[in-house]
């Protein structure tokens, strides 16, 4: 067990090193620097620009910068986010919990809803319930997320005032509210962005889960369960679902990066400053310490998510012993 963890850790470390290096190299080719906007003024002489570049070591040759940066990174120093005028750690510490909350909520809600939809569809396979839900999930997968977000923001937020248009919490004396009121306020602000993402997740999960359930429903042990005299819901819940949910969980782990990618636009539209938006802004600002850090965090998250989902998937559905050798 310890050896496996060690292997996993080493594997992750190698992945991170590769990712960090490639991002660093890539950023060297990108035109511009983090101060472009700051130094874009008629009264900024070239000498100031040179000073700024020197301050952040941008005037060093790339190889030396790479070595310095690599050493610092290995020590766990993520550096300074020049475009944000904050240490990278602070930026990440600020944005990461928000993304985790958003993506986590979307994931849980979407997963639960998706599984539930799939169960309903399987129960009523090839009847109208199945078809209607199938059409809904199809649309949910096919419509671009950013459009859903815009529509939700425009109508549910701006037009009908059901949810806040954007933001991470209410203004005014919200800071002085009791904890539960602040939680409700947070949930209320989270509703639209998390809802849009959850819709996308639910659609994908439902489609995969339905296919997986139908696959399992053809297995012999389902016939055994029916021969025992179990009702259809029991057969589905007790026998089919536990055997069909593993791959869907594993798939969800794989799909996490794309969810984060979709979250970029959703975060942007709902003014939810999380990692996606941070990374996007950092990319545009050529703030490579921040880009590298954000990508590393995303990579680590993805790896962790995959490890966790794989573990869950394994625990939920232990690999069946393969017949002969």
């Amino acid at each position: 067990m310890a050896r496996r963890l060690l292997r996993r850790f080493l594997h992750t470390a190698v992945i991170c090193a590769v990712v960090a290096t490639s991002v660093f190299v890539l950023m060297q080719f990108a035109p511009g620097d983090p101060f472009a906007t700051a130094l874009d003024g008629p009264d900024v002489p070239p000498s100031v620009r040179a000073e700024w570049r020197a301050r952040y070591g941008l005037d060093l040759p790339p190889t030396e910068r790479f070595v310095r940066w690599g050493i610092a990174l290995a020590r766990g120093q993520l550096g300074y986010a020049a475009s944000r005028r904050q240490p990278v750690v602070d930026v990440v510490a600020d944005a990461l919990p928000r993304t985790l909350l958003l993506v986590g909520t979307a994931l849980l809600l979407g997963f639960a809803a998706g599984v539930w939809i799939a169960l309903l569809q399987t129960r009523h396979h090839r009847r109208w319930q199945d078809r209607v839900l199938g059409a809904c999930t199809l649309v949910g997968v096919a419509v671009p997320e950013f459009l859903l977000a815009l529509v939700a923001m425009t109508w549910l937020g701006a037009r009908w005032h059901i949810f806040p248009v954007a933001g991470i919490g209410s203004l005014g004396d919200a800071a002085g509210w009791p904890l539960w009121e602040r939680m409700i306020d947070l949930a209320w602000h989270l509703a639209l962005p998390a809802g849009v993402l959850a819709l996308a997740v639910a659609s994908r999960v439902a489609r995969h889960q339905r296919a997986a359930l139908l696959g399992v429903m053809r297995e012999d042990f389902i016939r055994t369960a029916r021969a025992k005299g179990l009702g259809e819901w029991d057969v589905l819940r007790r026998h089919a679902l536990p055997n069909a949910i593993g791959p869907v969980i594993a798939l969800l782990g794989l799909a996490l990066p794309s969810l984060v990618g979709g979250a970029v636009l959703v975060e942007r539209i709902f003014g939810w400053p999380g990692m996606g938006q941070t990374l996007f802004d950092a990319l545009l600002a050529r703030d490579y310490p921040l880009v590298v850090a954000a990508v590393l965090v995303a990579t680590l998250l993805a790896v962790v998510a995959r490890t966790v989902t794989d573990a869950i998937a394994n625990a939920v559905a232990p690999r069946r012993a393969t017949g002969a050798m």
Partner: protein, 260 residues
């Protein structure tokens, strides 16, 4: 005359992907056996006893961990790429599950002529003729060449598999549970076919089975395998009348006898 096949101290290992650490499992453990030209050596054992691994290791379909395999005087385990290809013309295999061993996307003609093409044994038309011949030899019709495996019954599929093996004109066949998956009715027919082919083509068989019932009819000698080792090897008649090892005795006792 020396034996066609001489196996000495052959071992096969697998890496079992267990929950924790990968560990080596010895499926075949130092087996030695000879197969004489023209005979049928039956290899019998319960599932998991290592008989399939042994058969595949002899044909170099799985790597051997130790030991040697001499086929007609050459060391099979040391063959170069080209020599291995030549060896594959002489030694062929028929598997247990006729459904899994035939490519479902190829028509029967293509399946049977694959060996002919690989070894460039015949040009296009001559090849077709040979395929037709082979199909008739195993009890099918030349017209079946254009049909697909799923259109055939289990017994017919096994005939196709036999035809495929015979297409390269081997002298040695490993019949890996070749009749185990068949109905009793079909099983008898295929066994008859195998016997006929052996007689007409002078083939040598290594007949792998888990059941004494089938072995009784076809084998010259029987080797009983248990946990990777050969525990008994004797001519069929003597083994059936006086099994020495407990494994052989158990197998013999398990043959269902109809109370006539």
């Amino acid at each position: 005359m020396t034996a066609l096949l001489e196996v000495r101290d052959l071992s096969v290992e697998y890496t079992a992907r267990d929950a924790n650490a990968p560990r080596a499992v010895r499926a075949v453990d130092g087996v030695s056996l000879d197969v004489q030209r023209g005979e049928t050596l039956a290899l019998v054992g319960e599932s998991g006893s290592g008989k399939t691994s042994l058969g595949r290791a002899i044909l170099r379909l799985v790597p051997a961990a130790a030991g040697s395999v001499q086929f007609d005087g050459t060391d099979v385990l040391a063959l170069s790429h080209d020599a291995l290809k030549a060896f594959r013309r002489r030694a062929q295999v028929v598997f247990q599950d006729p459904k899994a061993s035939l490519d479902p996307r190829m028509c029967v003609g293509d399946i049977v002529r694959e060996g002919i093409d690989i070894h460039a044994l015949a040009p296009r038309e001559a090849g077709d003729l040979r395929v037709a011949h082979l199909l008739e030899e195993v009890g099918l019709s030349a017209r079946d060449a254009h049909r697909f495996p799923h259109e055939f019954s289990g017994g017919e599929r096994q005939r196709i598999a036999i035809a495929r093996a015979l297409a390269v004109e081997p002298v040695f066949l490993v019949l890996d549970e070749a009749v185990s998956a068949l109905d009793v009715l079909v099983r008898a027919q295929v066994l008859d076919l195998l016997a006929t082919l052996q007689a007409t083509r002078g083939l040598t068989y290594l007949f792998i089975a888990h059941d004494f019932a089938v072995v009784e009819r076809i084998a010259t000698r029987v080797a009983v395998m248990q946990r990777g080792r050969i525990v008994e090897c004797a001519p069929t008649a003597s083994l059936f009348s006086a099994p020495a090892s407990p494994a052989a005795q158990a197998l013999l006792a398990a043959i269902p006898r109809i109370p006539w």
